[in-house]
Amino acid sequence: MTEVALLGRRAVREVVRYPEATIPTLFIPLFFLVVNIGQVSRTFPSSTPFLKGQGYVAFQLPVSLMFAVATATTGLALVTEIDVGYFDKLLVAPIRRSSIIFGRLSADLVRGVAASALVLAVGIALGARVQSGVLGAVVIVLLSAAFGVAYAGFGILVALRTRNVQATQSSFLLFFPLLFLTPNFVPFNRLSPLMETLARINPVSYVIVGLRSLVIDGWSAGKIGVCIGVIAGMGLILTVLSLRAIATYDR
């Protein structure tokens, strides 16, 4: 546990000392939030049924939260560490290899909480009202951060498997199918049939739906439950794969 804390602290230090790695990842969600709302606020006025009296910002906010936390930052930090040789230094130390992964993921949690709190605050400033209240807002931040932790597994996997900076950088491309083949702009039933099918298959859709329910509906146990289930499942699978990748690294 000490090892995880030590490596986690170092990873957080890295986030704090390299703001240039984090700031661009915040630019996208905030940009989308402001621009999308500006563009469609007349198309979807607050009288639109699925907005339940709120502005479009409330509908878009969960998507921006996910944009803010789904990054390849951790994968890139790891592949850089492999590249400069520090990773070998860690492997040769008498620690569990899993600590290296968990240390990284703990920093993702910290960054995820900070990033989603910021985006949520901007959303509220732009007029979104969190129907589930203050507790709901806390849950939103925690769930998005947890999604960020789960998502980081993709980058970690690519980093460990390829050990290649470019490949790891390209892993952000996953972001597009996972976050755009979803009900990100309109609800499921307003999507074209093909898009609706794809969005319904995509587990990330249910994370968006869950977070959105906390903003627009209040407390909807079913949607939140599915959202937690998807994050946990995704996190579990990717973490197990990452642990296996690091255990068999050079074996």
């Binding site: 170092r10 000392r17 560490e81 400069v84 040789g85 520090y86 070998d88 230094k89 050079d250």
Partner: protein
């Protein structure tokens, strides 16, 4: 230094641990490092290390000498538990590098060729984290880090991020980070490659000091001088195989001859070689690009005869120099070529025609 320590390392008493004897048979012992038929084949079926047998005694400074791509780093990575052998066995301090990898890691320090420094952290933070990974925390970690920073002369730079360090400073910090837990065996993979002479000397002093405190040191190098000055014993590796092994003094003594180098200076190689064939006491002639190396029993005495013969054949060769055998010559004899990038052996008596 190497020659005085030599006698202590050979013929040491070996005691055995029973558990290991089962795996290792009669070879099990208290050697610091021991390998049997150690081999590593990479995916592209390149055999980087071929059936290496090594025994490094406790307290030795063991030099692993070879050119780039000879298999030095691959061997070190196997010994450090970073890379599993394809075949054969390796043990460090009597602990198998595969079966007891965790125990091996607790007792070895490693400074790899690729300096493993984290650019994000300051020198002090890096050392304190390193302490933590070896179970040294809190005040003890701070004290140990301070001590090591002092030792490697990085107190002033301690609170700067490592990315601002020079090459020599990085090496020293990397070395310090390998020492946090006072390892019994220290692996140094090309610790001075790319360093200026002053930084190289600093590292040498540090290696001697660490060794004097009892640590066994396994160091790889491309520099003959380094192996000669620093190491109690040396193994020369080439193409994944060990081609010579022994104390530097013994290896040189085995050569049993002087080396007279005749610089061609444009003279015809074949004609020169023919003219000098059958010199009294000549053991071997090695043609190099711009010179002929003659292995002779007594170099100094042969010079007159060499000059006479060349003049007799009207061959206008360049400088003639005599050298006592150096590790460079050992290397040349073992591998058939010189180690690139190394300085020419110093202290030649030169005779010019």
């Amino acid at each position: 230094m190497s020659e005085t320590v030599t006698g202590m390392t050979s013929g040491r008493v070996v005691d055995r641990t029973d558990a290991l004897a089962e795996v290792w048979g009669e070879d099990a012992g208290a050697a610091a490092i021991e390998t049997r038929s150690l081999r590593r084949v990479f995916k592209d079926s390149i055999e980087a290390v071929s059936d290496i047998d090594l025994t490094v005694g406790m307290g030795e400074v063991f030099g692993f000498l070879g050119p780039n791509g000879a298999g030095k780093t691959t061997t070190v990575r196997m010994l450090c538990t970073l890379l599993p052998p394809t075949a054969g066995r390796a043990a460090v301090l009597g602990l198998d590098v595969i079966d007891d990898a965790a125990a091996v890691r607790r007792r070895i320090g490693v400074a790899l060729q690729e300096i493993g420094l984290d650019p994000v952290q300051t020198g002090r933070e890096l050392l304190e984290l390193q302490c933590g990974l070896y179970g040294i925390t809190g005040r003890r970690a701070r004290a140990r880090s301070d001590q090591l920073l002092e030792l490697v002369g990085l107190v002033d730079a301690a609170d700067r991020r490592t990315k601002t360090y020079s090459g020599g400073m990085k090496r020293r910090l990397d070395l310090a980070s390998a020492l946090v837990h006072s390892p019994d065996v220290l692996f140094l993979d090309e610790p001075t490659t790319g360093l200026d002479p002053a930084s190289r000397l600093t590292i040498w002093e540090e290696v001697r000091r660490i060794n004097a405190e009892g640590a066994t040191i396994f160091l790889t190098t491309q520099y003959l001088e380094e192996a000669d000055k620093l190491c109690d014993r040396v193994a020369i590796i080439d193409g994944g195989r060990i081609v010579a092994e022994g104390t530097p003094a013994r290896l040189k003594a085995q050569m049993g001859h002087d080396v007279v180098s005749v610089s061609l200076d444009g003279a015809d190689l074949a004609a020169t070689e023919a003219a000098l064939a059958g010199l009294p006491g000549l053991e071997r002639v090695v043609a190099e690009s711009e010179a002929l190396a003659l292995y002779l029993e007594d170099g100094a005495r042969s010079i007159a005869e060499i000059v006479r013969r060349l003049e007799g054949e009207r061959i206008r060769a360049g400088a003639i120099s005599v050298a006592r055998p150096s590790l460079d010559d050992v290397f040349l004899q073992a591998t058939g070529r010189r180690l690139e990038g190394d300085e020419p052996p110093a202290g030649n008596e030169e005779v010019t025609r």
